[in-house]
Symmetry: C2
Subunit: 244 residues, 2 copies
């Protein structure tokens, strides 16, 4: 960079490093290429490894790098656009989401509030995975209160995907009126992290969807998207790719 900005407000080293690396990534590296290891890079830039890591962390957060323990640091492909909004009046994703299993469990209190159930009340809890180009991009927990699927009261206890599909089939019978969504930043719980092939605590985008049937909340889904690789799209059509 040409910014020799008089140091009146000295730029942190890791910040400057980040811009240097960003430029290098743009000009000298191809997607998938492996960078030199952290000790080498730190030495080359004359900083401590912790400082170098601070810069790498930000670049990973921005989706420019991908780091894997035991392997190395590679240049990440541009983020994938995944459609999350605008499914309109149809229940989402028999193709996009892959059922994993289902059980009766008490939803977190925040979800119970949305479902308008009493805390501690059980709900069918369906676990699903969303894949894109073979990679898992999101893990979801879909909470369906018993009142929404009365046909399932005396469930014959199949397990795994079969049971999940059973709940979903019952749910999809209902006439969906609309949905609410919200997006916020979070960190991956241990189980989600495992399925998304990330470390616990990795930054994720939490998408909470409230499905409305007959004026009430019939189900709530909390989906955990990998923040490093995903760009969530809402609206008419998938947007073209962005970068930087």
């Amino acid at each position: 960079m040409g910014t020799t900005q008089l140091e009146s407000v000295p730029e942190p080293k890791y910040w400057h490093l980040k811009t240097v690396l960003t430029d290098a990534l743009d000009s000298e590296f191809a997607v998938g290429e492996i960078l030199p290891n952290e000790r080498e890079l730190a030495a080359r830039f004359g900083v401590a490894r912790a400082t170098l890591r601070q810069a790498l962390e930000q670049l990973e957060l921005e989706g420019r790098l991908q780091r894997r323990r035991g392997v190395g640091t590679t240049v990440a492909p541009p983020r994938v656009g995944v459609a999350v909004g605008d499914t309109g009046q149809t229940w989402p994703g028999t193709e996009t989401w892959e059922p994993v299993d289902s059980e009766a469990a008490a939803p977190p209190t925040a979800v119970a509030r949305l479902l308008d159930t009493v805390p501690g009340e059980l709900a069918h809890t369906v676990r699903r995975i969303r894949r894109s180009h073979g990679q898992a991009v999101a893990a979801e927990l879909l909470y369906v209160p018993a009142r929404s699927v009365p046909g399932l009261t005396g469930i014959d206890a199949p397990t795994g995907p079969a049971r999940a599909r059973l709940v979903l089939r019952e749910l999809q019978r209902l006439p969906l009126e609309g949905q609410d969504q919200s997006v916020e930043l979070g960190s991956a719980r241990a189980d989600d992290a495992k399925e998304l092939d990330r470390l616990p605590g990795a930054p994720v985008l939490l998408v909470t969807t409230r499905y409305i049937v007959a004026g009430r909340t019939a189900a709530v889904a909390v989906a955990t998207y990998r923040a490093d690789t995903c760009r969530l799209t809402f609206g008419d059509a998938g947007m073209q790719l962005l970068a930087g």
Copy 2:
């Protein structure tokens, strides 16, 4: 916590610390309360300050804490829900967004691609701030290509908010057909960080909106929302609050 889990897969200290602190925040602290300082907390938990900081960082990312240099660490209020989608066929926010200024500038190449202009071509670039309860929650750059506002060719060069309002008024004359949006994780540029009262590099949610008029992209907005304090809402109505 009671998890004395055999250490077969030893939990990182900062992760365990985080859960301990989370529980403490839920039970023993009120919103706005000031925590003991980092050196004290680190000593109390018997870890190095860097390790303690790793836990605090995650909690800040999740919107549970707010840290300010020279002041201290406080317990954050629940995230604010801010409506970003579903403005329908109306141009957004004469009330929510406060115009700051405007100039003719070449948009970043990613934006130029969306606008379908040649790279380097100038566009009216309007800067706006969005406030919620007095706090700045988002900074936006709205790019309007000259072709969208032909009435503004020989602009008489007012400056600041006046000029911004001029461009907006002209834009809002157009019949809006629809919009596309995408959300991704980013880190705050220095100028945005300043207006959002955060440090450069702070985690933000980047919302890119494409405004469609007569089948074309009439304008593109890139809004930078504080990821720590905001929950973006899409759809029918603002969702009730969530926590955890």
